[in-house]
Amino acid sequence: MNETFYDVMRRQGITRRSFLKFCSLTAASLGLSPAFAPKIAHAMETKPRIPVLWLHGLECTCCSESFIRSGHPLAKDVILSMLSLDYDDTIMAAAGHNAEAIVDEIVEKYKGNYILAVEGNPPLAEDGMYCIIGGTPFVEQLKYAAESCKAIISWGSCASWGCVQAAKPNPTRATPVHKVPGLADKPIIKVPGCPPIAEVMTAVVAYLLTFDKLPTLDKQGRPQMFYSQRIHDKCYRRPHFDAGQFVEHWDDEAARQGHCLYKMGCKGPTTYNACSTMRWNEGTSFPIQAGHGCIGCSEDGFWDKGSFYERLTDINQFGIEANADAVGGTAAAVVGAGIAAHAGLTALKRAKQSGAEQQ
């Protein structure tokens, strides 16, 4: 994951002796004295892990909790071996002045070379004092850390869109990271979800480290590798949707057979996320599989798009503009006719057979 240059050379069969010769030659070619050879060797043997400042604004901490649910890689491996989580007030040992000093140190020492991860968002009302860190508004800590970072990750729907505290009427003027006035112009990766899937979060981190670049982002700034298809596109209950087999009431026979939850308000058709393929908690399950419709938690403004139990209208099935009732009825009729025909043929076959046997 985080190979040093030395690791790479050893892997390619270069001996340590040759490696040290290489370092001497490098020193010479750089115009440095032979005394620099050991320094070059050390640097190439110990590549620093990229520092991360993980700041928290107005939030509920579900993004951090999701992160530590990751099965691959494990959170402990991310923190011990992949990156350097230098500031994260949920798990760091230091508090108060000792903690704030770390932000100053990283901003200074790693200018342009650290990642700023943001969970939650800054409130702009009341001069920002609805979220106070070190006696000052969180928005100031955010802008300060953003100035010299390499890139920003907006964890979750709070940082990406605003989420619950920004639901109408947004009393604190909670503002997503990309809309914070005066924020430095840095690349921002939005990883929405309330929270995002654990393995999506660690995959975004791993992508940055493995390929040393940002993943391709869609028009909304989300990694297209996980956010370019809807829950609906990959949902395993889609055949039931297509066949017009819907749950009508909680715990009805259709629920007990795992039929489509569209009529129970599922927002799968309008929600972009990886839940129906990757699923949750190391692939254990996901909301629809456990019987509740998708609430659309990775979409902008999902709290204000009507009740979670109101069905979406104007969803196309078979390319027809019709609502589920009409389509359900049609589909059932078509399927029913098909079954009747099939049954009829079988009956005919049996009659022929028994007729043949009787003869």
């Binding site: 530590i68 106070i132 006696g135 715990d251 057979q257 908690n281 254990t284 996901f286």
Partner: protein
């Protein structure tokens, strides 16, 4: 104010040096703490300030009560689920909806798994670094560490010297890289750390094991609720359907799903018994002389109770987690608690950043008002947007001051355990007596930071055992032919009365949690939460009573004033959750909240 005696028995003296800790880290949310210490480095004045507010109150007004659980679940992602459960209970109380037995068992399984995971993560990942020194672990002898492990937890298979040597080597490589990550700028030379290196290495090893294991516990919630954090819930039952051997069972909660839940329960019980409890007791052995942090735990304790044995019965007799109130330090009398009684629970705001029409009065949650009012006091050092020192004689926190019959109360595992002990609860009494005997300390040792920490561990162990109980109960119910998981008789708002009110409660990992709501013409007219950290993190009230955090810090000796190890150790023993302590209420009738948006 130089010296003041508080009605709840503390002598506040603000003349000594002021120490500020902001941010308080390893909590949920944002908090600031200020103390005054005297010339002997003893804390003589303490201030707890909530430094965040999201204003969810108006957000809920006018919405469908069946959606409320999803909104309020996002009050907190650490105690994820407990607010949602409280909410569906409040709506069911208002609409008189009864849930099926299986739904009760599944809800209990989800709540109990939260208790276990939350306490486990709290002990290792939020609290341990106040007791354990990871840098000191580098000096440990792996063979001696192995011997220590085997003596305290003989059934734990992961105990070889090689195992501890591997962790030590990994830690060594990490430290030698010069990039200390979460350990950076820690207080590693502070004499407040008392463990020998072998205990430190053992604890650090288990910190990593617990980080790996906690994610597996939560899969129980993923199976029933679809995802964790923030699983799905349902007014009237649970959204998952059960189908054991009917057609299409592979699309519901079936034998395979139940097997997975069952195997996780077994592994959870083993982990708590073999790792968490032995570590807790081992660490306590070295710290049992450090009995600061009692605060008001010896005098004022409150719990609402939780984990209903049978569905739809929220009376004290049916709740497996105890309910009651103790005041004036009288353990012989456990008072009854009624969330609907306007004289019992009230919230005050004289020292909180809110405005009431009459701030000398406390308001019961059904009649509450929330109007934010960010005003710093005249003696504040600094400015409105750059606070250097708070003025505790004025408003100083985003947390309100809830009181029970006028008393500041402590809530949480210690409160539940002392109330249970006082009520003669057999399992709780047995656990407490075992700990007191093992550590050879009197019962008064419970009323301390260490006691609070021990109660949390014991509760995790209790909760794990109860998961097996409800799993067995649900299987027996299914065997008897009952597969129901939801009652939809009152799902349709057209079946609802035009004006109702209800209250729901749980015992969240951090303490007593209540939601009060009013429904008018099928929409939420009023919604309020009084949350554990609102109780514990409460500022002063009009009478001058200090809150539980503040009281627990009083009279604690600090080794090095510039290193707040002891302050963090005591605050963390409450497991603060500040997103939770944020007040949310929607005004009754007309909209009273006015927020100036600049």
């Amino acid at each position: 104010m130089t010296v003041r005696n508080t009605p709840n028995g503390f002598n506040l003296n603000d003349t000594g040096r002021r120490v500020v800790v902001d941010p308080v880290t390893r909590i949920e949310g944002h908090m600031r703490c200020e103390v005054n210490i005297d010339d002997d480095n003893i804390i003589r004045n303490a201030i707890s300030s909530g430094t965040m507010w999201r204003g969810l109150e108006v957000i809920l007004k006018g919405r469908d009560p069946r959606d409320a659980w999803a909104f309020v679940q996002r009050i907190c992602g650490v105690c994820t689920g407990t607010h949602a459960l409280t909410s569906v209970r409040a709506v069911e109380d208002a609409l008189k909806i009864r849930i099926p037995e299986n739904a009760n068992s599944i809800r209990n399984l989800m709540q109990l798994s939260l208790q276990v995971q939350d306490h486990l993560v709290h002990f290792y990942h939020l609290h341990a670094l106040d007791w354990v020194n990871p840098v000191n672990a580098l000096k440990a002898d792996p063979a001696a560490t192995s011997a220590l492990q085997q003596s305290i937890s003989p059934h734990n298979p992961k105990s070889s010297p090689g195992y501890f040597r591997d962790t030590q080597n990994r830690l060594l490589k990490f430290v030698e890289s010069g990039q200390l990550g979460p350990f950076k700028n820690g207080y590693w030379t502070n004499p407040a750390y008392l463990l020998p290196p072998e205990a430190d290495l053992m604890a650090v090893t288990h910190y990593l094991e617990a980080l790996d294991f906690q994610k597996d516990i939560m899969k129980i919630r993923t199976i029933f609720g679809g995802k964790d954090p923030h699983p799905n819930w349902l007014v009237g039952g649970v959204p998952c359907a059960i189908n054991i051997d009917g057609i299409g069972a592979n699309g519901a909660i079936n034998m395979e799903r139940l097997n997975l839940v069952s195997s996780i329960i077994d592994r959870t019980i083993a982990f708590i018994d073999q790792v968490y409890i032995p570590d807790l007791l081992a660490i306590a052995q070295f710290y049992k002389g450090w009995l600061y942090g009692g605060g008001i735990s010896g005098q004022s304790l409150l719990s609402y109770g939780d984990i209903p044995n049978n569905a739809n019965d929220y009376s004290a007799a049916n709740l497996l987690m105890p309910r009651g109130a103790i005041i004036n330090g009288d353990l012989s009398k456990v008072h009854e608690v009624d969330l609907a009684d306007p004289e019992q629970i009230q919230e005050f705001v004289p020292h909180s950043w809110y405005k009431y029409p009459d701030e000398s009065l406390g308001l019961h949650p059904w009649d509450g008002v929330t109007e934010p009012n960010y005003r710093i006091g005249p003696k504040t050092k600094g400015s409105r947007t750059h606070i250097e020192e708070l003025d505790e004689s004025a408003k100083y926190s985003w947390i309100k001051a809830p009181r029970w019959r006028g008393h500041a109360m402590e809530v949480g595992p210690l409160a539940r355990y002392v109330i249970g002990y006082a009520q003669g609860n057999k399992e709780i009494t047995e656990q407490i007596n075992f700990v007191l005997k093992t550590l050879d300390v009197p019962v008064t040792a419970l009323f301390s930071t260490l006691g609070r920490t021990a109660a949390r561990g014991l509760e995790a162990q209790w909760a794990a055992g109860k998961m097996r109980y409800f799993m067995d109960k649900m299987i027996a119910n299914i065997k008897a032919g009952d597969l129901a998981t939801a009652n939809v008789e009152r799902w349709d708002p057209e079946t609802w009365p035009s004006s109702v009110k209800g209250v729901g409660f749980t015992e969240a990992p951090r303490g007593a949690l209540g939601h009060w709501l009013k429904i008018e013409n099928t929409k939420i007219a009023n919604y309020q939460c009084v949350v554990p950290t609102t109780w514990n993190g409460s500022p002063r009230d009009e009478q001058g009573n200090i809150g539980a955090f503040e009281a627990a810090l009083m009279n604690t000796k600090v080794e090095r004033p510039e290193e707040p190890v002891e302050i963090l150790r005591t605050l963390h023993s409450f497991d603060p959750c500040l997103a939770c302590s944020t007040h949310i209420i929607s005004p009754e009738g007309t909209e009273l909240t006015q927020v100036k948006v600049r």
